[in-house]
Amino acid sequence: MPSTVQLQNLTKTFKNKDDTLTALRDINLTVTPGDIYGIIGMSGAGKSTLIRCINFLEQPTEGTVFIDDCDLSGLNEKQLRKVRKDIAMIFQNFNLLMQRNVLDNVCFPLEIAGVKKKDARRRGMELLEIVGLKGKAKAYPAQLSGGQKQRTAIARALAGDSQILLCDEATSALDPNTTQSILQLLQDINREFGITIILITHEMSVIRQICSHVAIIEEGSLVEQGEVESVFNNPQTDIARTLFGTKGGEK
């Protein structure tokens, strides 16, 4: 069952002795099932904190996240871990286990969930076929290219049959060609399995290529959001125009 993700009045502040930093300010966002929702902003705008709040890797200071009807702020650690099993995540630096081969990396979430090794391996091989890495099952991450590493991470993310996939700058460490193929893969996954994708990026091209919706984040606040076409064709803020490269209204 695809899930709706709802961020309500989400605020995150980081405190140290003499300073309070507001990373996120009163964020409201609804992602409906099957969306590819892109959140774009400059570095330091709060993108990474925002995406980590969605699966509560960062606890919001105020506000909450709903996954369907489930209020994450009302859950204890154990319940949160259970919810996280249904929210997959991929990262800019792939974050693969370097001492495990590709297949064992893909099987890792299944192993955590207590799936039998034989079943996990069979599922792992299916997933490797989907991401086009069947021949690399026995290879170790150090032997893979960046694109292959991200494909492994995507296969791993799919292993838990999650309905939501969070992408933390998933293509920012990749060259343009590899970026294209990874974005294509994400789009295929979205279409084929109906997985909701929420991605953060600083690259407009990523939004343009695969996203159905976009939100623009600046200094911790969402300044614009909506369907990509409408936001792109009618940007309301300077930051949007800067990001879209349409400063002053001209293309």
Binding site: L57, L80, A88, N93, L97, M98, Q99, P109, I112, P141
Partner: protein
């Protein structure tokens, strides 16, 4: 002393040294490994934060680490007698060796685990892994190479410590060096024992390095 007699003695005492070293290392790891893991995970903002416990553990580890082994060896003799029944001989020497090695090993384990990429830990958390699963399936396996290198250093250090125990009749090659070389001025025997100790450390180091390299999957083929 006849050559044959000497060889027999050196072989026997080599066995004692090896026995003390291996037994101490095994026991010290049984306690030092979990302690090292705890030093990492109980820290504020860690996997299982218990800052107060972390401070206590750090304090205790630092205290034991600051006591020179020779002093520790003598200071805990009553404790050694309590555990081993006597305070001399190879088996008794295992007690102070373990006591000295635990905090040392804990620090090395701590350093190895801190090398594990925080991103990988975060990825495991995002999959809903429990702290225990992260320790068993992420921290220890990913730190494996570094842990093996650390264990090699621990073995060589404990071998050296075991030789020091010769001063209180701890047995092994150190005991021989002190009894013959120091008390009886038989420098030749002392030199032989020192050479043997050097050879053993070299062998341990070579084996350790080889295992560490063979099990490391981060190296491109």
């Amino acid at each position: 002393m006849e050559v044959k007699e000497l060889i027999t003695m050196l072989a026997e005492e080599s066995g004692s040294t090896l026995y003390m070293t291996l037994a101490s290392t095994v026991f010290a790891y049984l306690l030092g490994l979990p302690l090292g893991v705890a030093l990492v995970t109980t820290v504020k903002g860690g996997l299982t934060p218990v800052p107060l416990l972390n401070k206590c553990l750090n304090f205790i580890v630092n205290i034991v680490r600051s006591v020179p082994f020779l002093i520790l060896l003598i200071a805990i003799q009553p404790f050694t007698r309590l555990i081993a029944g006597k305070s001399y001989g190879p088996t008794a020497t295992v007690v102070p060796l373990v006591a000295a090695a635990i905090p040392f090993i804990a620090r090395m384990v701590e350093a190895s685990i801190l090398e594990v990429d925080a991103g990988v830990i975060e990825a495991a958390q995002s999959m809903g892994a429990s702290p225990l699963q992260i320790i068993w399936k992420v921290l220890l396996p990913e730190a494996k190479t570094s842990l093996i290198s650390g264990a090699t250093i621990a073995l060589a250090t404990i071998l050296g410590y075991s030789a020091m125990a010769g001063i209180v009749g701890g047995g092994g090659l150190g005991d021989v060096a002190i009894r013959y070389g120091y008390y009886r001025y038989q420098t030749d025997i002392m030199i032989i024992t020192v050479i043997l100790l050097i050879v053993y450390v070299q062998i341990l180091q070579a084996i350790g390095t080889r295992i560490a390299r063979a099990t490391d999957k981060r190296i491109r083929e």
